[in-house]
């Protein structure tokens, strides 16, 4: 199986520096999540690996192949699912799949085992035009088309954007199956909570990689004491907690407010006592483990300062 080696890649569009000195080494069989907001450079990086855009600087190899020299060979061992639905809307499900198979000079049966579990959900509608499918079905069809030639490397550009929480989970369950097959997966997402599904994640912001590591390592490295505050009205509590003299970051996370203490020796008991002294009752403060979003925001604040 092939991995992906990205070395010191930079790319600009006119005055916009889309990627700045990006390096990533994706191991064969690894699932690497490229996580960051819109405009961070995720699509540009994936398109460079997909041999669709050339970098201004740097080298990219897929397996033993170079994206400039050997792009044809790379395209044979790669499956790519763009962020925007790009199949033929006028063709039916089965026609799209047959088209992709014929382009790659395979038959659908050849690698049917790989797409079987996904395709079976589409089979009852196989004569329906792709343009008439729901978002979830389009996504499944696009994935089948990207897998029809049994690629060694799969590139997925924001497959879960705009998809509801249940469909997102199902999509990641499907990816877990492909991972078992040994396929190298580079997948981008703006949803930080999807990090835990990846072997490693690369956090990307404004064209730079903030950090690349297993998600558990990133959150374990959160540099300061972090407390969860539960109780009270979120908006009022936010305003209050920002007045805490040792508050470093104060961010809401659902019904819990995360407060980072600026001192290594800060404790939840201290914050709890301070909140009580402000006349607010029924508030619980405890130590909590950082999540990827905490870590992302911390890394982001360090690079922009």
């Amino acid at each position: 199986m092939a991995g992906i080696r990205i070395e010191q890649v930079s790319k600009s569009y006119k005055s916009v520096r889309a990627l700045q000195d990006v390096s990533l080494n994706i191991m064969p069989g690894e699932t690497l999540g490229l996580i960051g907001p819109d405009g961070a450079g995720k699509t540009t990086l994936i398109r460079i690996v997909a041999t669709l855009v050339l970098a201004d600087q740097g080298t990219v190899e897929v397996g033993r192949y170079d994206v400039r020299r050997d792009y044809r060979k790379i395209r044979n061992i790669m499956g790519y699912m763009p962020g925007k639905f790009s199949l033929y809307q006028d063709l039916s499900i089965i026609e799209n799949l047959e088209l992709f198979a014929s382009v790659f000079e395979v038959r659908i049966e050849d690698n049917y085992d790989l797409i079987k579990s996904i395709y079976e959900q589409l089979a009852p509608f196989k004569d329906r035009r792709a343009g008439a499918l729901s978002g979830g079905m389009k996504q499944k069809l696009a994935l089948c088309c990207a897998l029809v030639h049994r690629p060694q490397v799969l590139l997925l550009d924001e497959p879960t954007t705009g998809v509801d929480a249940v469909s997102r989970r199902e999509f990641w369950e499907t990816l877990a199956v492909l991972r078992q097959e040994g396929i190298t997966i580079l997948v981008s997402t703006p949803y930080m909570d999807e990090a835990s599904r990846c072997d490693r994640v690369a956090l990307i912001q404004e064209g730079r990689i903030l950090r690349t590591d297993p998600p558990a390592t990133i959150v374990a490295d959160y540099p300061r004491p972090l407390f969860g505050v539960i109780g009270g009205k979120t908006y009022q509590m936010l305003q209050l907690l920002r007045q805490y003299p040792y508050a470093y970051h104060v961010f809401p996370f659902g019904d819990c407010i995360h407060v980072t203490d600026s001192r290594p020796e800060g404790t939840p008991a201290e914050l709890q006592a301070w909140v009580a002294a402000q006349g607010i009752e029924g508030v619980q403060v405890t130590y909590i483990q950082a999540n990827i979003e905490d870590s992302f925001m911390d890394l982001q604040s360090r690079t922009t300062l």
Binding site: P37, A165, G254
Partner: protein, 244 residues
């Protein structure tokens, strides 16, 4: 009741041929409430929002928006509401100031008011230096905050936000929600959709649509209790999976 509610819907229904996109939904939203409108893809959310904004005529039922009858006063409703979505908000090839002026004009504000509001708004968002920049030059987060403010330019009674934070970085996403809180605190009703389940927790109440119906509606705390789970994400997954 319907006069006092910001939104009041009874058995609101929309069919497209044989397909019932929205199937007799009933709910009320009170003035100044932050109301989360969730649902799976294809559940009927967009159709429901288009009806409530006066853009699509309901097949049957009854609905009042900002105290106006949706069936007879759809045009007046459009003047009393604001709308912003991730997909479409501002014109990329107009400058910041031009966009504000355009929207102000569309909503019939006087030029002097537009000028005053433009200054206030740019001051508040710290965008004064960006006045003559094209929208396409702005980072997404700023664009979304500006779009939100522009949708509030005519002091609407209700603002509809359709996935306003999709793809926005985590810090900006939180700043955006603080703007929502402030807006609601000033008495504007906020009707918001999102795929981020942590954001559902920030709403006063949340409804979850599934297959054209409202399958659950309550405060986030009550929904979590009802489904015996600890997060809105789990509520959503449990509910939608049960229906499938």
């Amino acid at each position: 009741m319907r006069e006092h509610s910001s939104i009041y819907a009874r058995n609101l229904t929309r069919r497209f041929g044989d397909f019932v996109a929205v199937d007799q939904i009933s709910f009320e939203v009170s003035v100044g409430e932050i109301f989360g409108f969730l649902g799976a893809n294809g559940a009927g959310k967009t159709t429901a929002i288009r009806m409530l904004c006066g853009l699509l005529t309901p097949t049957s039922g009854e609905a009042w928006v900002a105290g106006l009858d949706l069936f007879r006063q759809a045009e007046e409703i459009k003047r009393r509401i604001g709308y912003m979505s991730q997909r479409f908000s501002l014109y990329n090839d107009l400058t910041v100031a031009e966009n504000i002026r355009l929207y102000g004009g569309i909503y019939g504000l006087r030029l002097a008011d537009i000028r005053r509001k433009t200054d206030e708004l740019l001051e508040r968002l710290q965008l004064k230096d960006m006045r003559r920049e094209l929208i396409e030059e702005l980072p997404l987060g700023w664009k979304q905050k500006l779009a939100f403010s522009v949708a509030l330019l005519h002091d609407p009674a209700i603002i509809f936000l359709d996935e306003p934070t999709g793809g926005v970085d985590p810090v900006t996403r939180r700043q955006f929600w603080e703007m929502i809180y402030e807006t609601a605190a000033h008495g504007t009703t906020v009707f918001v959709t999102t795929h981020y389940m942590d954001e559902a927790e920030y709403c006063n109440r949340v409804s979850i649509m599934d297959q054209g119906r409202i399958a659950a509606l309550d405060t986030p705390a009550a929904l979590k209790k009802q489904f015996n789970v600890s997060s809105m994400d789990e509520v959503f997954v449990k509910l939608v999976r049960r229906q499938r």
